[in-house]
Symmetry: C2
Subunit: 192 residues, 2 copies
């Protein structure tokens, strides 16, 4: 399988950081101010993150240009994710600051594709938020350079069943990043 | 107390709808494509909603211009709310579609100011999301024209303690809208 053009572009443009972590090979879409990356432990298949390229902790730290670019990217990625994962709805959530549950001090919007009844066995429609609580700690313990190496300092355990939230290998994440990069290339061609 | 200039502008520009509900007098900020309104039953003091003026259910229904305007407004309102309510963090969340928990079919971003330990007595930092689940049903039963008059058809009860989530009178909400309108006038003067 040949490398998608947008992945070549991303690898040339890197390194890309998520807080202290090097995530270049998990990135599947890059704009002038924003990137989108796959997750180490998605809450549901297709759960991805959208971040500004500049490492800043709070939404209010973004310039107007970065803000527009971030959310135009959220909208476009969200539409692609909903199509590719056969979803009917999406949760879009930002934990903006530590007292709102943020654990990696770098702005990131969660985009989580939803289907009717998808979390019935794990606590219901809003269990997604309790599951979110464990997600970033997992990233902190799991992702490459910059990790603290102790398996997730400050990690909080999800309050509901975390069945299915298995840490994935780099190969699987990179495969998903390539697949989503191709889908984003299609999405951008289709336009608004 | 004289009417804030931005409130005069909003009342002239109305009527403003949130889904089927007339909410003109709860609106405290208006831009070409976006408005911000106070809540009938805020989860925490300062919990407000930001919506596009055009009544559309999904984020993907927004034009790029509407998307930029919505989130630039979220950012500016969020900064004001954090300052006015003495918060240290914010939750920003969109339930984009019914299978993600949306109950009023009109795009809206929740902005909820947070402080350390503010929900400790009501279930912890992430209880905010469970509380969100009841919020829209409350709006549906309680707000003016377009309400179904049966106290909240389809209303789901919060799963955690809802102490403090008392339905407010119109006078209180309009007073808050005037106060926040003045604060937004200050915010816009300060610039980015």
């Amino acid at each position: 399988m040949s490398i998608p053009p947008s992945i070549s572009h991303i690898l040339k443009a890197g390194p890309i950081h998520f807080g202290p972590f090097l995530v270049t090979t998990q990135v599947f879409h890059l704009t002038p101010h924003t990137y989108a990356l796959v997750n180490l432990k998605p809450i549901l298949p297709g759960h991805v993150l959208i971040s500004p390229r500049r490492v800043v902790p709070r939404v209010t730290d973004l310039t107007p240009t970065e803000t527009s670019d971030l959310f135009l990217t959220v909208r476009r990625v969200a539409r692609m994710i909903e199509r590719v994962y056969g979803a009917s709805s999406l949760n879009i959530a930002i934990q903006d600051g530590v007292d709102a549950g943020q654990s990696v001090p770098h702005v990131h919007a969660h985009v989580i594709p939803r289907r009717r009844g998808d979390l019935d066995a794990r606590g219901g429609v809003d269990a997604v938020y309790e599951l979110l609580d464990g997600e970033e700690g997992d990233l902190r313990g799991g992702l490459g350079a910059g990790g603290d190496g102790n398996g997730g300092r400050g990690r909080r355990f999800p309050k509901v069943d975390d069945e299915g939230r298995v840490a994935r290998g780099m190969e699987e994440m990179e495969g998903e990043a390539w697949m989503l990069a191709r889908e984003m290339e299609r999405e951008v061609e289709v336009g608004e």
